[in-house]
């Protein structure tokens, strides 16, 4: 503004006020957001496809992520052969290691040596005899709830891969090993590493 604006005849304890207009850009942005908000609310409340809502967005994300992760796997059969076979897949054991470290390590130790939960590296099992029992314990829980049931928590493939990962810990050397608990387990069955047709 080139000239000094008009001072109003208001005066309070020596404070005066200018009669300046409110800035144009201020009005513009204020109205812009009012108009935007109106349309946004209309779209949101009418469940418009542009704003699908939390649930739908979430379901889509789950679907997309699951597809991407398990594209090559399909649906795994939870049986001894599958469990044993995947212990030989380095790629998928690295994958399952992550599930283990976020959910199991706090009780079984970062390398499965056992803390509150039993040692998973030795030849003894508290509720385990065969490789299938690992899957059962993970899915349904054990020890009166001290070992939680993870069946609801993970995708079925994750349960299978986690079973294989736990099975693969047997015979490894943890930093701190808890004393053996339970009874001696059968040796795991042998199975060839899984083959994927991704090389074609």
């Amino acid at each position: 503004m080139p000239h000094d604006p008009q001072v109003l005849d208001h005066e309070y304890d020596g404070i005066q006020e200018f009669d300046n207009p409110t800035p144009g850009w201020w009005h513009f942005l204020f109205w812009l957001f009012i108009v935007f908000s109106f349309f946004y609310v209309m779209m949101d409340f009418s469940a418009s496809p542009f704003l699908p809502g939390y649930k739908k967005k979430y379901d889509n994300a789950v679907l997309a992520a699951t597809m991407k992760k398990f594209e090559t796997l399909g649906d795994l059969e939870p049986n001894a052969t599958t469990f044993a076979s995947f212990t030989k897949s380095e790629e998928w054991m690295n994958y399952a290691a992550s599930t283990f470290s976020s959910n199991c390590a706090s009780c079984h130790g970062p390398d499965g040596g056992g803390v509150v939960g039993p040692n998973l590296t030795d030849d003894y099992g508290k509720n385990l005899k065969k490789i299938d029992d690992i899957y059962t314990v993970i899915t349904k829980g054990a020890a009166g709830g001290a070992m939680p049931a993870w069946g609801q928590r993970f995708h079925p493939n994750d349960l299978v891969l986690l079973t294989s990962y736990v099975a693969s810990l047997r015979g490894t050397k943890p930093q701190i090993a808890k004393a053996p608990e339970g009874e001696i387990m059968e040796p795991w069955p042998d199975a060839p590493a899984p083959v994927f047709d991704e090389g074609e």
Binding site: H10, I15, C107, A146, A149
Partner: protein, 777 residues
């Protein structure tokens, strides 16, 4: 226009009066002292996060101390600053002494007493467990009496008895603060006091902790909604509007310049008052709050940007033509930086309220950085500017002890703020990105939560340094102000002023003519409206003005509150969700008392990275018995909403509470040894269950034999722990320890949706049957 009086007789009748500056001096010192206390506690908390051993006593562990910091900063420091500003400026803007010196004094001492009682109760774990509304019910009542009864009455009566015809914009903002804070405080603090229920039913008062304990009338989603309606607007009407009032008085005074735009004052005042109230739900994006509320919270936050900036523009542009003074006058420096920080945080606020941004920022330190750029930058710097401007006037020394020290205060303080906020912004964004990062195989890149904590340690140390600098700068200020005070005269002069009383009749002058030439009735009406003559009239009618503020704030609130409470489909019932058992209630009360919600959320959002980490997202129906809700606002530790599903192992929790570092190297959680060693007062449980039953929790048998039920459940958990920890020496009376109740509660968290509906057996854990929508995978 001018002041034309119809009855010429009253105009000549001058009245003499003097201002009560003694009360201003009292609030002045209270501001300074509580400010330093609040900053000091803040520094201790900052150190505790970087160095957990600093949680050396249960009374000063992070969870209990953080509420003390927030309450001290908001209600003690900012509160007394507001009162200093209000008591000094209102008298002068009204040409009138405060209506009642007695009420002024009652207000001052009442408020300080409230602060002291906060400082005594919070470290003892006496808390309502809702952020910035932690103080328990007797203190709530005291706040209502002191705020409205003493302060409100005194302030409004001063307005009514004023000798200045029109009210200046600063007073509008004070009115809005008074009205809104009253409404917010009352409606967020509706509770049932356990001790009073017990007294009514048995004739006995019970132990002090029973007497002081209360449960909110709202539960779960509704409690969360009310809390953040309150929490957000505490920022609005305690940390914003009164400080805008402060700015409108002290900034033009210090700069000796007219305010930039009267029109802008009107528009931004009313839009701010009306729009702010709606924005609360942006604190609950992606939670179990109904989505429509969250959407309203977001759009009103966006619309709030310009009304907020109206204040910044009016502040900064008032300095137009006085910028050369800013370089030399340290008071103006404080104001300029303060108003600039106000502008930055009121831009950042709307940004953070955008849902997709919030998905990243929520639960991280980003929020903490945002809040501190507001409180340190805006509130503290405006306050210090005011204190420095006031000191020579209040103490009648004519000048401050040392201008150089003010400059030092300013620069050290500014560097402190910058170190604080920049490090904590970085920490927040870093952690937010780590939580949602996936590796190539589709797994979380940082599956262990602790990795995202240890990464923040360098930033936490920088923050502690920044906070310490800010504290130091405030101490410099304190020294300077005390030295100024020491130079005061033996006896303060009390100048006597003269002004005529306001006549009953006043002519507002002719109503404006439409400036339009076209022949359109509504256009002319609109143009007359835009000329604001009507508003000028309101400015001389304080009661009507106040009523309009009440209507503005009230209507906006009701638009959101009524549907939240009335629409049943907002909170679909889940049949397997049952009330907490008596022992779990006792455990939950410990969780609340220890302030666990200050570090742990209980709200898994429907975001893939989050359900991967914590499990199924939280449903509104899961919280219907949560009094108070404990969704939290920051994840310093992991979310606990599904902890009972993910880790129901009692012996793990037992050892973890005693020493968290046993299982998690680098954990910054303090030890809760005192819960492992302390005895639970089983005698208190019965009255708590009765109080909860009275406000609608369907308790059945537990209303009569809560204690024996609790003991029974404790025995089972204690036996579990004994069985799981064979080699350990455990206390004989393990079942009597506090930790057992807390473990009972933790084991229950998030399990109800997996409970089988048929056998109503409370001990059935995580049965593999999903209720409502089932597993999402």
């Amino acid at each position: 226009m001018g002041f034309e009086f119809k009855s010429s007789g009253s105009a000549s009748q001058l009245e003499s009066f003097s201002y009560d500056d003694a009360i201003v001096r009292k609030f002045f010192w209270a501001t300074l002292i509580w400010g330093i206390v609040a900053f000091l506690v803040g520094v201790i908390l900052a150190v505790q996060l970087a160095f957990p051993q600093a949680n050396f006593l249960p009374q000063v562990a992070f969870g209990r101390l953080r509420p003390l910091h927030t309450n001290a900063a908001i209600f003690a420091f900012a509160g007394n600053a507001i009162f200093t500003a209000v008591y000094y400026s209102t008298q002068r803007l009204c040409k009138a002494r405060m209506w009642s010196d007695t009420l002024s004094k009652l207000h001052f001492w009442g408020w300080q007493l409230i602060i002291v009682s906060a400082a005594l109760t919070l470290p003892l774990g006496i808390t309502q467990g809702k952020e910035y509304a932690e103080l328990e019910w007797p203190i709530d009542l005291a706040i209502a009496v002191v705020w409205l009864g003493f302060f409100g009455t005194n302030f409004l009566m001063t307005l009514i008895k004023r000798r200045e015809r029109h009210m200046y914009v600063a007073l509008w903002f004070y009115i809005a603060s008074l009205v809104a804070v009253t409404i917010l405080h009352v409606f967020n603090n509706l509770w049932i006091p356990v001790g009073v229920v017990q007294f009514l039913q048995t004739g006995e008062f019970g132990s002090p902790s029973t007497l002081l304990k209360s449960y909110p009338l709202y539960a779960g989603v509704q409690d969360a909604f009310m809390q953040w309606w309150y929490g957000h607007n505490a920022v609005a009407f305690f940390l914003t509007t009164p400080f805008l009032g402060l700015m409108y008085y002290f900034l033009p005074k210090a700069a000796n310049r007219p305010v930039f735009s009267y029109k802008l004052s009107i528009i931004h005042f009313w839009s701010l008052v009306f729009i702010y109230i709606w924005a609360g739900p942006h604190h609950l994006h992606y939670t179990a709050l109904p989505q429509w509320a969250s959407t309203l919270g977001m759009v009103f936050s966006l619309m709030l940007w310009m009304p907020s900036w109206g204040g910044m523009i009016n502040g900064l542009l008032t300095l137009r033509g006085a910028w050369h003074k800013v370089a030399s006058d340290p008071v103006l420096k404080f104001f300029v930086v303060g108003v600039t920080f106000y502008g930055m945080s009121t831009f950042e606020g709307p940004l953070l309220s955008v849902k997709t941004v919030n998905a990243l920022s929520h639960y991280t330190d980003w929020t903490i950085a945002h809040v501190h750029s507001g409180t340190l930058g805006w509130n503290s710097f405006m306050t210090f500017g005011m204190l420095y401007w006031l000191a020579p006037r209040l103490f009648q020394t004519g000048k401050i002890h040392s201008e150089k020290l003010i400059s030092m205060h300013f620069w050290i303080g500014t560097v402190g703020i910058l170190l604080y906020v920049i490090s904590i912004y970085t920490a927040g964004i870093t952690q937010g990105l780590m939580w949602r990062a996936f590796d190539e195989s589709g797994q979380l890149s940082y599956p262990e939560f602790i990795e995202t904590v240890t990464r923040l340690m360098p930033f936490y140390w920088i923050r502690a340094v920044g906070g310490t600098l800010f504290l130091l700068s405030a101490c410099l200020g304190g020294y300077n102000l005390v030295m100024t005070w020491l130079a005061r005269p033996k006896k303060y002069e009390v100048p006597v002023h003269e002004a005529p009383a306001l006549s009953k009749v006043y002519d507002d002058g002719p109503p404006p003519q439409s400036r339009l030439t076209a022949n359109a009735g509504i256009g002319h009406a609109g143009d007359r409206f835009l000329q604001g003559h009507w508003h000028r009239r309101w400015e001389r009618l304080p009661v009507r003005f106040t009523v309009w503020v009440v209507i503005g704030v009230g209507t906006a609130s009701l638009f959101e509150i009524i549907p939240t409470f009335l629409i049943k489909s907002n909170i679909p019932t889940i049949s397997t969700v049952l009330p907490y058992t008596p022992l779990e209630v006792a455990g939950r009360d410990i969780y609340v008392a220890e302030g666990c919600y200050n570090c742990h959320s209980q709200m898994v959002r429907p975001i893939y990275a989050e359900t991967q980490r914590y499990g199924e997202y939280s449903k509104p129906g899961e919280f219907v018995y949560d009094r108070p809700f404990q969704w939290g606002s920051r994840r310093i530790g992991p979310d606990l909403a599904r902890e009972g599903v993910n880790n129901p192992n009692a012996s793990w929790h037992y050892q973890h509470f005693e020493n968290p570092q046993v299982f998690t190297t680098g954990s910054i959680m303090p030890s809760y040894k005192h819960l492992v060693e302390g005895d639970l007062d089983y005698g208190q449980i019965q009255s708590r269950i009765r109080a909860l039953a009275m406000i609608g929790t369907p308790y059945g048998d537990a209303v009569k034999n809560a204690e024996s039920m609790a003991r029974e459940q404790a025995k089972i958990i204690a036996d579990d722990i004994r069985a799981q920890m064979p080699g350990f020496v455990l206390p004989e009376d393990l079942e009597d320890k506090k930790v057992i109740a807390l473990i009972a509660y933790i084991k229950r968290l998030g399990t109800d949706i997996y409970r089988t509906p048929e056998p109503a057996d409370a001990a059935a854990e995580a049965a593999p049957a999903a209720a409502e929508e089932g597993g999402a995978h």
